[in-house]
């Protein structure tokens, strides 16, 4: 599913978190804004109340205008002065005439009266006197539905109330909230778009890696990931993967080459066997013919045996299954045994073997190391000239036992030297009957299993020298 991709999941999480943050921020801003609006409104109401109170209780200028509310402050109105005779200053009186329901309305209660002494024309009918004790003098605010009212109760018990509908403030807060919402949504969209762009850019190398890995897993091992920025995290990942892929490719190619070579080497003797038998059986033969056919078949079968044994040995050494039976062995005596073993072969080829052996004790699997020495000696004899020489030396260099087998034979071409330890590689290309092309590979595997190394120096036409180094 598309929403399972990292890109989408990151984006959805980001959208969710951003929405929550922006929404809380928006609500807080709107709340603060509304509170501020109402506070300013309340301030105006309070100022109105103050003005009104001041106007009502300011001492009237001296003159005829006695009995006005001016002296109301100082002395209670005389009982004889009826309340309906109570006169308001004209500018205040005018305020009471306002009919506009959206502007301020005023209500005035005298003493402890519940009935309003005077209310402006636009005052809502349900305004009641605030239940405030006389002693709670001061200006207060009350909220009544959509109206907000400020009132002031004097010490005498008179009450002045100024109110107005708060609808314009609420409307203004609504407009502001819409603005905040639109702004927030726009911001969210912008941020998400930018995030998407960044995500796509950041994840593009990942897609390259995926597609390369997919091609590789479907068999195309030559695929590599091409990420120009090698310093970024993904670039480094790509570099690591590329080197892994390269090693995989090499290893696959080697494996393929080995299988192909092995199948070729095994099938040739089988072909000989089959065609020899089929040809011979096609018609009546003389006993001599049958003998020849059997000899050829035996030869082919023995070649197969050598090959299968060598292949099995290599496979075991490769898998690390070949356990080494280590003993403390004198390398010099091991060499002497091997030289005895190949003495007859050397005599037949008229090759002299010279030994220069220093005693070196090593911990090794004697039969395995003897196999290596015999193999090197056999090669040195087989690739030598008539009346050639072989010089075999052992010595100790620090913690290493060094064995050298040098011959005066054909030598190895410089181009072939790096490949002589490869499986099935044969430098002279003519496949002699006894040669499997695996001998040196097995030597190398055995020496490496002992923690040692094998190397060769050679000059064409003058001879080769194989050096084996084994830890003491």
């Amino acid at each position: 599913m598309i929403f399972n991709s990292i890109k989408w999941r990151l984006l959805l999480w980001m959208a969710f978190l951003l929405t929550v943050i922006l929404a809380s921020l928006g609500v807080a801003i709107c709340h603060i804004h509304l509170a501020d609006q109402l506070r300013q409104f309340d301030d105006r109401l309070e100022r109105q109340v103050a003005t009104m109170s001041a106007a009502l209780y300011v001492p009237a200028p001296t003159g005829d205008n006695t009995g006005g509310p001016a002296d109301h402050n100082n002395a209670p109105p005389p009982d004889n002065q009826a309340e309906d005779g109570f006169q308001l200053p004209p500018d205040i009186e005018r305020l009471f005439g306002t009919r506009n329901t959206n502007s301020y309305y005023f209500v005035l209660w005298l003493d402890g009266d519940v009935e309003a002494f005077k209310a402006s024309a636009n005052a809502p009918g349900d305004v009641t006197r605030p239940h405030t004790a006389v002693k709670d003098a001061g200006t207060r605010i009350r909220e009544r539905g959509l109206y907000r009212e400020a009132y002031h109760v004097t010490e005498r018990g008179d009450c002045v109330l100024v109110g107005r509908t708060a609808v314009p403030e609420y409307d203004e807060a609504g407009r502001f909230a819409r603005l905040v919402f639109l702004g927030g949504a726009g911001l969210l969209g912008l941020v998400l778009a930018a995030a998407w762009w960044l995500l796509v850019r950041a994840l593009r190398p990942l897609e390259k890696i995926t597609s390369a890995a997919m091609k590789i897993s479907s068999g195309d091992l030559s695929q590599r990931i091409n990420i120009p920025d090698t310093e970024s995290e993904l670039g480094r990942l790509a570099a690591v993967l590329n080197s892994t892929f390269a090693r995989l490719e090499t290893s696959f190619a080697q494996q393929k080459q080995f299988t192909s070579d092995a199948s070729h080497e095994l099938r040739t003797p089988i072909s000989v066997l089959i065609s020899e038998a089929q040809t011979t059986l096609a018609r009546e033969r003389t006993p001599q013919d049958y003998r020849e056919a059997l000899a050829a078949s035996l030869d082919a079968a023995q070649k197969m045996r050598r090959l299968t044994e060598s292949l099995l040995e290599l496979a075991r050494l490769d898998a690390g299954q070949e356990t080494l039976h280590r003993d403390n062995i004198n390398l010099a005596s091991l060499v002497q045994d091997s030289v005895k073993f190949v003495r007859a072969l050397a005599a037949e080829a008229r090759v002299q073997i010279h030994c220069d052996l220093a005693e070196v004790q090593i911990s090794c699997d004697a039969s395995r190391i003897a196999q290596v020495i015999t193999n090197l000696l056999t090669n040195a004899i087989n690739y030598n000239y008539v009346n050639g020489e072989i010089r075999i030396t052992t010595r100790r260099e620090g913690g290493t036992a060094v064995l050298t087998v040098a011959d005066t034979g054909q030598g190895i071409a410089p181009s072939a030297i790096p490949r002589v330890f490869e499986r099935f590689f044969m430098a002279d290309e003519s496949r002699s009957a006894g040669n499997t092309g695996l001998g040196l590979s097995i030597c190398k595997a055995i020496v490496e299993a002992h923690g040692g190394s094998i190397s060769v120096t050679s000059s064409l036409g003058r001879g080769s020298a194989f050096t084996v180094r084994l830890p003491v």
């Binding site: 192909s260 199948s263 070729h264 080497e265 095994l266 099938r267 040739t268 089988i270 072909s271 000989v272 066997l273 089959i274 065609s275 020899e276 089929q278 040809t279 096609a282 018609r283 050829a296 030869d299 082919a300 290309e429 003519s430 496949r431």
Partner: protein, 216 residues
């Protein structure tokens, strides 16, 4: 029919030569690609059996170089049975392909088919007047009655029959019937022709004086 075998494994080469000679082919052998290319280039073989894995020059390279000058049918022998190898072989101009280890009878059948295709024959049976040649069983019948022919006689008859209507010079006949190891004497050919005419009727092979022989 003269065949070239290019195979580096000496035992297999020797065995194939022996088997093909017993089938009545004239057979030459080469032990590596260079020798093979030289021989294939200097003579028009009726078919070449070519091993892939060889020292000096491998089968692919030899085939590629050979195809620049010759259209000789080639049967590739290889120990590799990978699909790509087979495709590569056929693409590079091999006419057929056989994987080692192979069955000798299959090799022979494929070789016969290869030669038939290259000479536009559709069947292993050839009818000449009242004579029927079976190139597979290497037998001949005249009016339904089996006639015993020697291997050489059959080979001459087969070569002329395959190139029916063409006048085949004595030299060409020699070249395709005797391999490099045969000591050949020209009058031997006359002896074989005489013997064939005696067994199958004198009109079966026409002599074009000064040119050669022909089956019409």
């Amino acid at each position: 029919m003269r065949i070239l075998i290019v195979e580096d494994e000496p035992r297999l080469q020797r065995n194939l030569v022996k088997a093909l000679r017993e089938e009545g082919y004239a057979v030459d052998a080469a032990g590596d690609g260079e020798d093979g290319l030289f021989k294939a280039g200097s003579f028009n073989y009726d078919a070449i059996i070519l091993d892939v894995m060889m020292p000096k020059m491998d089968g692919w390279e030899m085939l590629e170089r050979l195809r620049k000058t010759k259209k000789t049918p080639v049967l590739m022998l290889t120990a590799r049975d990978g699909h790509t190898d087979r495709v590569k072989g056929l693409d590079n101009g091999a006419d057929d392909y056989l994987v080692k280890p192979f069955d000798l009878s299959e090799l022979l059948a494929r070789l016969r088919a290869l030669i038939r295709r290259s000479t536009n024959q559709t069947s292993s049976k050839v009818e000449i007047r009242d004579v029927m040649l079976d190139t597979r069983a290497r037998t001949a019948t005249r009016e339904g009655v089996p006639v015993i022919l020697t291997a050489r006689e059959f080979a001459i008859l087969e070569y002329l029959a395959v190139h029916r209507g063409e006048v085949i010079t004595r030299t060409e006949l020699y070249e395709h019937l005797f391999d490099e190891n045969d000591a050949t004497f020209s009058n031997l050919l006359d002896v074989h022709i005489f013997s064939i005419r005696k067994k199958l009727g004198s009109e079966i092979i026409a002599t074009r004086r000064g040119q050669g022989y022909c089956i019409e």
